[in-house]
C-alpha cells in the first residue's frame, strides 16, 4: 500500500509541472494582458494615459518581461518562498486575496456537502427499497427538476421572490449592519439566517444527482445473490440492508472525493455571483476576465493540486473500503 502511495506521489510531480505550464499558457492566450485591460478602462473613463505611465506601470507589474520569464519567476517564488505572486487587480499578495475568502467558502461548501449527504442518502435508500411507490415518484420528480434547472436560475428566482414580497434584498451573507462588525454571537446568528439559501441552492443539483445514483446502485445490489442468500437465511431486513448493500451503494461518495475537494475551495461561482457571496468563485472569474495572471494561475494550480490529491485519496479509500478493487503496485 505504501509502495502504491509513494508511486502515485512521484507521478504527481511531472503532472503538476505540466498543469502549471498549461494554466499559465491558457491565461496568456487572450490578446493583451492585465495592463491593456486596465489602461483601456482608464482611457474610456476619460483619463489620458501617456506613454510614461504605461512604461512605469509595466515595470511596476513586471509585465516588461517575456511570458516564459514571468512563468519562471512565478514558479521560482512558489517553490523557493511559497510566494504565489501578487494580484494586479487587488494589489496584494495572492495568498492574502485567496486566504481572506477561503474560510467562508469552505464553510459554505462543507455545509453544502453535509446537506447533500444528509438529504440524498436516506432518500436514495428509501426510493430504492420502495421502488415505484408514491414517494419514490415524488422524489424522482423533484430530483429531476433539481438536476435540470441551473442553480443560478433558482437563486435568481428566490432573490426576486423575497424582494418582491418583503422588500429585502437577501444578497450577501450578512445584513448591512453586520458586514463590517467584528465576530460576535449576533453576527453568527445573522449569518445562519442567510446561509441556508446558498447551501440549498448550491446543494440542489448535487442532492438530486446523488439520490439517483444511490437509488440506482442500491437497486443493483438488492438484486444480487448475496442479498437473496442472506434474506433466505433469515437475517433481519434492516440489518441486511445496512450491513452490505448500502455500503456498496455509497461507493460513489468515496470515488468522487477527487472532485469534491476542489469543489469545496472553488465554490459555485455563478450562484455565488448571483447571491453576492464573498467567496472564492467570483474572484476566480474576475481574475480570468481581467487577466490577473498570478491570481488566476495560482487559483487554477491550487484547484488542480486538490483534484489530484483528492483522486489519490479516493483511490486509497476505495482500496480500503471495497475489497474487490485492486491496483497495480498493491501487494496482496
Amino acid at each position: 500500500m505504501l509502495h502504491f502511495i509513494g508511486h502515485r506521489l512521484l507521478q504527481l510531480i511531472p503532472l503538476l509541472i505540466a498543469i502549471s505550464i498549461i494554466v499559465f499558457v491558457i491565461i496568456q492566450l487572450p490578446p493583451g494582458d492585465f495592463l491593456t485591460t486596465y489602461i483601456q478602462q482608464l482611457e474610456l473613463s476619460g483619463t489620458k494615459v501617456d506613454a510614461g505611465t504605461i512604461i512605469s506601470l509595466k515595470q511596476q507589474y513586471g509585465l516588461d518581461q517575456p511570458a516564459y520569464m514571468q512563468y519562471f519567476i512565478w514558479m521560482k517564488n512558489i517553490l523557493l518562498h511559497g510566494d504565489l505572486g501578487r494580484s494586479f487587480q487587488w494589489n496584494m499578495p495572492v495568498s492574502e486575496v485567496i486566504g481572506e475568502r477561503l474560510g467562508l467558502t469552505m464553510l459554505i461548501s462543507t455545509l453544502t456537502l453535509v446537506f447533500v449527504w444528509v438529504v440524498a442518502i436516506p432518500i436514495g435508500i428509501y426510493s430504492a427499497t420502495h421502488q415505484y411507490s408514491f414517494l419514490d415518484y415524488v422524489f424522482t420528480f423533484i430530483g429531476f427538476i433539481g438536476l435540470a434547472v441551473p442553480g443560478f436560475l433558482i437563486a435568481l428566482i428566490l432573490v426576486y421572490a423575497v424582494f418582491v414580497n418583503t422588500g429585502v434584498s437577501i444578497t450577501g451573507l450578512f445584513s448591512p449592519e453586520y458586514v463590517n462588525a467584528p465576530w460576535s454571537w449576533d453576527k453568527v446568528v445573522n449569518m445562519l439566517q442567510r446561509i441556508w439559501l446558498p447551501i440549498v441552492v448550491i446543494g440542489m443539483s448535487g442532492t438530486a444527482g446523488l439520490i439517483r445514483v444511490t437509488r440506482g446502485m442500491l437497486l443493483d445490489e438488492l438484486q444480487k445473490q448475496y442479498v437473496i442468500t442472506a434474506r433466505a437465511k433469515g437475517v433481519e431486513e434492516r440489518r441486511l440492508l445496512f450491513k452490505y448493500p448500502v455500503r456498496m451503494a455509497i461507493n460513489p461518495l468515496i470515488s468522487t472525493i477527487g472532485w469534491t475537494l476542489p469543489g469545496i475551495i472553488s465554490g459555485e461561482a455563478i450562484v455565488s455571483i448571483v447571491l453576492n457571496m464573498p467567496t472564492t468563485g467570483p474572484i476566480l472569474l474576475k481574475a480570468l476576465m481581467f487577466q490577473d495572471m498570478y491570481l488566476a494561475g495560482s487559483f487554477l494550480l491550487i484547484l488542480s493540486v486538490l483534484t489530484v490529491v483528492g483522486t489519490l485519496l479516493s483511490d486509497i479509500l476505495l482500496a480500503v473500503v471495497d475489497p474487490r478493487i485492486r491496483f497495480g503496485g498493491v501487494q496482496e
Partner: protein
C-alpha cells in the same frame, strides 16, 4: 405604475429640453470681456472672499464674506483634537462654488453614514466623484471660470507661459502636518523629475501640452508660493489642473512629503526601507514598486492601500475588508460653509463591494444605497422609478459628460479600396444623412436625448443616395453598392459592449445604412480584443463614446477614425502616416483649444465644431443624453442640473435632512 412612468418620461423630457436650451445658449454665447489677461480669477488681491461670495451664493447662505467663528462636527467632541480654528487654514475655503442655477445651496446638519456600492475591485467611482479634490476648481465644469480649490489662487503672465500658484496658509494634511511648498518641491523634484519613478515625463506637463515640448520648469518662491513655467504659451494649463483627466491635487504636483520620504531612496533610512520592502513582500531593490504602492494618487483613493495615507479629501479611509470600505471625516478638512461649520456634513461613507453590476441594481432598488451614479443606467429607469417610494430614494437625470455612443469609420484602415471610399467626404455625409436621429432617440434613449448639434442632423435618404450615386458607387446585380474595385462594398462594424446602448444602437445603424444599398454587418467582440484590434488599426468601423464634443477636452475620437494619423501626431512622425492637410488643420485647432486660456478656448472650440460639420470625421449623432442618478430622498445639496461627474458632486456639501 405605467401612468406614473409615462408622466415621469414626459416631465423629464421637458426638463431635458429646457436644460439643453440653457446649455446650448451658454456654450455659444460670446465670452465675456475680461479686462486683462493677467489673472484668471476676478479679484486676485482678495481671492478668498471672491470665492466665498460665489460659494455662498445659494439660498440660506450669508451674503459674501468669510466666517470668522467656526464650528465642528459633534463627532469630534472629546476626541482630544486641537480647536477647530487651528485645524482650519487661515485662508479657509467656503464650500464648493457651483453656478446658482445648478445648485441651491442650503446650510446642512451634521451626521449620518452615506452608503455606496461598487462592483469593481479597489475602485468606487461614486466615492471618487464625491471626494476628489483638484488643485483648482471650475464651477459647473465648463471651464469658463477657474477658481482656487486646494490652491488658494493662481496668476498667469500675459504671455501665458508663467504661472504663480498661491497655497492656503495653515492648510494641513489629514494627520495634522502642514501643507507647504516643501511638499510641492518633493513631488516635482523627487518624484516627477526622478527617472526611476517617472520614466517618461508626462506630456501635459510639457510646453504646450505636447509630447515633444520641453518639460516645465519649477521654482519655489516662498513657503506658500511656487511657480511653474514653460518655454511656450500654455493657457490651457489651469483647466488641466482643474478637471481634465479627472486629475486630483496629488497626481504629480502635491504629495505628502513627510510621509512619502520614508519610502524614497534619497531620504529613507536604508535599514527601515529594507524592512518595509520585506514587510510588503517586495524583492530587494524594488523600492520604486514600494513607493508607487504607498503613493496614493487620486485614482487610487478608494484602494485599501489608502489607509493611513495623509490626504486633503473630506473623508479618509479608515477600514477596508474584502467587502466593505469605510471612510471617516477628515478632522483637518479645509472647507467650511458660509456659517462657519467645518465640512463635510456627513460623518462616514460606507462603500460595499458586490460581485456584479446587477447586485448593485438590487441593492439600489432595495434602498440600501444613498448615492449611485456609476452603475445606474438609463435602460433601468423604469425599475428605479417603480421602487422609488419603497426604497426611499429619488432618481434624478443629470447630463452625461460623454457623448452617447458615436459612430466611427476608420479612414486609415489598410485597404486602398476601403480608403478611397471612406476618405471621400461625400460618403461620410451620405452615411450621416441616413441616420434617423428621431428613431434612435425614441427607441434607444426613450426620448432622453436630442439630435446632435455639432454635425448636421438632417435625415434625408434621397440626398444620401444621390451623394453615393455621384461618387459612382453603382448597385451590382445583387442589389448592393459596389466599391471602386467593382465588388460589393462592405462595412463591418465591430463593437464591444462597454455600455448598454452600444449593441442595440449598432443594430439600428446597420439597418439605416442597409437602406442605402450598402452591405453592413455587425459583430460583438470581447472588450479586450476590441482594444487590441483598435491599437493594431484593425477595426474598420466601430462605436464608442467620446469625451469632448459636449464640453471641453481634446478628445475627438481621433484614435478611432484616423488611428495611423493620430499615431503620426503622437510619435512626432516616427510611426503611423502623415495625415492630409484638412486633418492636420483639425489637429491644430484641437491643439489650440488645449493650450488657450478659457476665453480663447471657447472661441476655438466653435471653429473645431464647424470643421467637424464640414468634414464629418465621425458621427456625433446625438447629444444631451441623460444619466440617471439615484440618491437617498433625504440627501440635500445634490445639484439638480449639470454634468453627472466629479466636481459637480462635492460630497462634503451633502447632508441628510432630518
Amino acid at each position: 405604475m405605467k401612468r406614473s412612468f409615462l408622466s415621469m418620461v414626459a416631465s423629464s423630457f421637458l426638463l431635458s429640453m429646457t436644460l439643453s436650451g440653457c446649455f446650448g445658449g451658454a456654450a455659444n454665447e460670446p465670452p465675456k470681456e475680461t479686462p486683462k489677461q493677467t489673472t484668471q480669477t476676478d479679484k486676485k488681491e482678495t481671492p478668498a472672499p471672491a470665492n466665498t461670495g460665489q460659494a455662498g451664493g445659494g439660498a440660506g447662505a450669508n451674503a459674501g464674506g468669510v466666517p470668522t467663528t467656526f464650528k465642528q462636527a459633534p463627532m469630534f467632541e472629546g476626541k482630544n483634537l486641537p480647536p477647530v480654528k487651528d485645524r482650519l487654514p487661515a485662508d479657509v475655503k467656503v464650500a464648493n462654488e457651483m453656478p446658482p442655477d445648478m445648485l441651491k445651496y442650503e446650510i446642512g446638519t451634521y451626521g449620518g453614514t452615506l452608503r455606496t456600492v461598487t462592483s469593481v475591485v479597489g475602485w468606487d467611482a461614486d466615492v471618487f466623484v464625491m471626494t476628489n479634490e483638484p488643485l483648482l476648481n471650475t464651477p459647473g465644469i465648463l471651464g469658463k471660470e477657474i477658481t482656487g480649490n486646494v490652491l488658494k489662487d493662481y496668476k498667469v503672465n500675459p504671455e501665458q507661459t508663467q504661472f504663480d500658484f498661491y497655497m492656503r496658509k495653515g492648510l494641513k494634511w489629514s494627520d495634522g502636518k502642514p501643507v507647504t511648498t516643501e511638499d510641492v518641491k518633493f513631488s516635482i523634484e523627487d518624484v516627477l523629475f526622478n527617472e526611476e519613478l517617472t520614466p517618461v515625463f508626462p506630456a501635459w506637463l510639457k510646453a504646450g501640452g505636447k509630447a515633444d515640448g520641453t518639460p516645465m520648469k519649477f521654482k519655489v518662491i516662498d513657503e506658500y508660493t511656487f511657480q511653474i513655467s514653460f518655454d511656450k504659451p500654455y493657457g490651457g494649463f489651469p483647466i488641466r489642473l482643474a478637471i481634465e483627466s479627472w486629475r486630483g491635487y496629488n497626481d504629480y504636483i502635491l504629495k505628502p512629503a513627510h510621509f512619502l520620504k520614508q519610502f524614497h531612496k534619497k531620504y529613507a533610512d536604508p535599514k527601515q526601507l529594507e524592512a518595509a520592502l520585506k514587510e510588503g513582500k517586495y524583492a530587494e531593490g524594488e523600492w520604486v514598486k514600494l513607493f508607487n504602492d504607498k503613493d496614493i494618487t487620486s485614482r487610487e483613493l478608494t484602494r485599501p492601500q489608502a489607509i493611513g495615507f495623509p490626504t486633503l479629501y473630506p473623508w479618509v479611509m479608515t477600514k477596508s475588508t474584502d467587502t466593505v470600505t469605510e471612510y471617516e471625516r477628515n478632522p483637518y478638512y479645509f472647507k467650511v460653509d458660509s456659517q462657519g461649520n467645518q465640512l463635510p456634513y456627513i460623518d462616514k461613507i460606507q462603500s460595499t463591494l458586490v460581485q456584479n453590476i446587477e447586485s448593485v441594481t438590487m441593492k439600489t432598488i432595495a434602498g440600501e444605497v444613498d448615492f449611485s451614479r456609476e452603475s445606474a443606467a438609463l435602460i433601468k429607469m423604469p425599475l428605479y422609478k417603480e421602487n422609488e417610494k419603497k426604497g426611499g430614494y429619488r432618481t434624478l437625470l443629470a447630463d452625461m459628460h460623454v457623448t452617447p455612443t458615436d459612430i466611427f469609420i476608420n479612414q486609415t484602415y489598410n485597404d486602398p479600396n476601403w480608403r478611397k471610399v471612406v476618405q471621400d467626404v461625400r460618403f461620410r455625409k451620405a452615411l450621416n444623412l441616413a441616420l434617423d436621429r428621431k428613431e434612435i432617440i425614441d427607441t434607444i434613449y426613450y426620448g432622453f436625448a436630442e439630435p446632435g448639434k455639432i454635425v448636421d442632423s438632417t435625415f434625408n435618404l434621397d440626398q444620401a443616395n444621390k451623394l453615393l450615386d455621384e461618387m459612382g458607387m453603382k448597385k451590382g446585380p445583387d442589389g448592393f453598392r459596389q466599391g471602386p474595385d467593382g465588388k460589393k462594398f462592405t462595412i463591418p462594424i465591430e463593437v464591444g459592449a462597454q455600455a448598454p446602448d452600444i449593441v442595440p444602437l449598432t443594430q439600428l445603424v446597420v439597418e439605416f445604412w442597409k437602406k442605402l444599398g450598402l452591405d453592413v454587418t455587425m459583430k460583438t467582440i470581447d472588450q479586450t480584443l476590441w482594444g487590441s484590434r483598435r491599437d493594431a488599426n484593425e477595426l474598420q468601423a466601430t462605436m464608442i463614446w467620446t469625451h469632448t464634443p459636449l464640453w471641453y477636452m481634446a478628445d475627438w475620437g481621433q484614435n478611432y477614425w484616423g488611428r495611423l494619423w493620430k499615431l503620426w501626431l503622437d510619435t512626432g512622425g516616427k510611426q503611423g502616416e502623415e495625415p492630409p492637410a484638412d486633418v492636420k488643420k483639425f489637429y491644430d485647432l484641437i491643439d489650440k483649444v488645449a493650450t488657450s486660456p478659457p476665453q480663447d478656448a471657447i472661441k476655438a472650440i466653435d471653429e473645431v465644431k464647424s470643421e467637424m460639420n464640414k468634414n464629418v470625421w465621425y458621427f456625433v449623432h446625438i447629444d444631451n443624453v441623460k444619466q440617471p442618478l439615484v440618491v437617498n430622498a433625504k440627501l440635500g445639496n445634490i445639484p439638480e442640473k449639470g454634468f453627472a461627474i466629479a466636481g459637480n458632486f462635492s460630497g462634503e456639501q451633502f447632508f441628510f435632512k432630518k
